[in-house]
Symmetry: C2
Subunit: 118 residues, 2 copies
């Protein structure tokens, strides 16, 4: 459930600019401001069903963009590589008595990770 919302938020972050203003507004009210369908319906003066349909259509559009461009997927991969790199850098910074040769071996691994980001 939480994972689902995170995924939708990421889709919205990456492709929200490609939605119509109306779709974007409704998605923000629903996911960011946490309003119910009825509350959104009252606020913008369209039916509850209209809000629901707009939301579903917007989500389908975001999923379609992701299937073509895969930015969220790439972002998540990069995030995990960056976090690997950061923990290796921290290890070099924080381990006492680490010697230059050990560090150089780790630097080589970090270079390999960096190349995956290119």
């Amino acid at each position: 459930m939480i994972e689902d919302i995170v995924k939708k938020t990421l889709l919205f972050d990456f492709y929200g600019q490609l939605l119509t203003d109306k779709q974007r507004d409704i998605m923000e009210m629903y996911y960011t401001d946490d309003l119910s369908l009825s509350e959104i319906s009252e606020q913008i003066g369209i039916s509850r069903q209209g809000v629901y349909d707009t939301l579903k259509r917007a989500e389908a559009t975001l999923i379609e963009y992701e299937s073509r461009l895969g930015l969220v997927d790439k972002f998540l991969q990069h995030k995990s590589i960056l976090s690997e790199i950061k923990s290796m850098l921290d290890e070099i910074l924080n381990v006492d008595g680490i010697d230059v040769n050990e560090i150089k071996e780790m630097i080589k691994s970090i270079k390999n990770y960096i190349e995956k980001l290119e």
Copy 2:
């Protein structure tokens, strides 16, 4: 001129999947296969003007996507950060007689660069 073609190629790499098949085919023939407008016109059986218009419309579409999502711009920024990081890693690997404290200072700078990629 070369810069212009590189920029168009990047736009195509990032957003080409959002074009129609026809737009994508014509852009590939023109930019990748280096065919002339007339050659493309003969090959796919539409007028030279039709090829030209499709090309211009496709380019405008790519530029519109970039103005909304800015992926090429972000990519170029990341590329330059990654190249900074790589040269710092190479310095650690290749400079003789570098000591652990010097390395740790450089690692801290690399961590700052990594954070810019997040």
